[in-house]
Symmetry: C2
Subunit: 234 residues, 2 copies
């Protein structure tokens, strides 16, 4: 019992995005061109493209074409940065400091990255501000075999996802967040200017690329006076 045609087409198109045949920012061939090449009707190609557009995996613009989305800074912020002000206004994080190191990952991180605790992993520790107030410390962990990351000392873009895509052709398309409240550890409290043990939001995030592979895992601490994590369920 094979999958429906349009889902097979979807997989084909996704594979071409993952392997670089279709590149971010570039248009896909037109519906008719794809239909002819893949030997199905234009309506079936359309249905495949519709499901992809629905998952934010392509962007369609009438009169222009169907595009592989670029992980622009705006897009990364809009799609994946869920912190808003108390009234729902969006916020833009401003860099305060960052530090890249290579070190063995703690067990819980190593497990998520599926690497050994003795192998060195890349850790990016960033402190950022919201509305001018230093309010977040986050540790991003990467498997260097997958995302080697730049030499130390080189400044990172504010939006890492943009950088993954441009430098390594890794497009982040899905993130799973696990949110809890914890007492601020010493280094967090110091970095973001709150009392040790004060309540902070801890967001553990696993981010996945086009092929469904885990690309990074991060742990972000936020002070939440004046803002919070917003999400809509339907």
């Amino acid at each position: 019992m094979p999958k429906p045609l349009y889902l097979q087409i979807r997989e084909t198109l996704l594979a071409r995005m993952a392997d670089g045949t279709f590149r971010p920012g570039q248009p896909l061939p037109s519906e008719f061109a794809l239909a002819k090449e893949l030997d199905v009707s234009q309506g079936t190609v359309r249905k495949a493209l519709d499901t992809l557009a629905n998952d934010n995996l392509v962007m369609r613009r009438q009169g222009l074409g169907t595009f592989v989305p670029e992980t622009t800074t705006e897009r990364a912020l809009f799609q994946f940065f869920r912190l808003t002000g108390t009234n729902g206004e969006s916020l833009i994080p401003e860099p305060v400091s960052e530090e890249i190191s290579r070190r063995p990952a703690p067990k819980r991180i190593a497990q998520r990255l599926e690497i050994s605790t003795s192998a060195p992993a890349v850790r990016i520790r960033r402190v950022r501000a919201l509305n001018g107030v230093t309010s977040t410390l986050e540790d991003v962990w990467l498997d260097p075999k997958h995302l080697p990351l730049p030499a130390d000392g080189q400044p990172l873009p504010n939006a890492l996802y943009t950088h993954y895509q441009r430098s390594y052709s890794v497009s982040i398309v899905r993130a799973e967040d696990f949110i809890s409240a914890v007492a601020a550890p010493d280094h967090v409290a110091e970095a973001i200017g709150i009392p040790v043990g004060g309540p902070v939001l801890l967001v553990r995030r696993d981010a996945f690329d086009l092929s469904g592979r885990l690309a990074e895992t991060r742990e972000s601490y936020f002070r939440t006076d004046g803002f919070g994590y917003s999400v809509t369920l339907r």
Copy 2:
């Protein structure tokens, strides 16, 4: 410049769900029947139904029909209860205590419900347990003109949304959560057995019905040792 036909059909069908012409648990007329009645092609009705199904506003089952979803307990838990264990397992809240009262709402609540701070509102204060551990206290606030709610002393179902639908034909279809970390206030700490001032997750939720109207607002405190709020972004 009128809306596309299929969106007009969508609105028509939504209106019929909101006004009770189509009732929860009941099937809609078939695609062909709707097409004939509304004088459009079956494909257009299908497209309207597809968008509704995509938003979880109808449920389609091949060979059976298209149904107005019932807010079953399972559905309410699956769709709107985002607390999971550390490894992502779903959790089922068990009632510990509840107390219904009518009282003026604090200003921030009154503003969200769009009622006056002097008018009495309904407050449901519930304490619930997860995995046998008392871990959440939540205050649900209602506008009695919209959802009068049962006489005191009468037990409430564990899932309020089910009750709203059965007793008042109010179907909750969308919720907006705003999540922060706070120091546990006295009454929360006492209720869920943690130290006063310890970190707890505070989830403020606005829940909306089929017609887009705010049906309730709630503030839930959770201790997050052993579980957390899970969400997937794409």
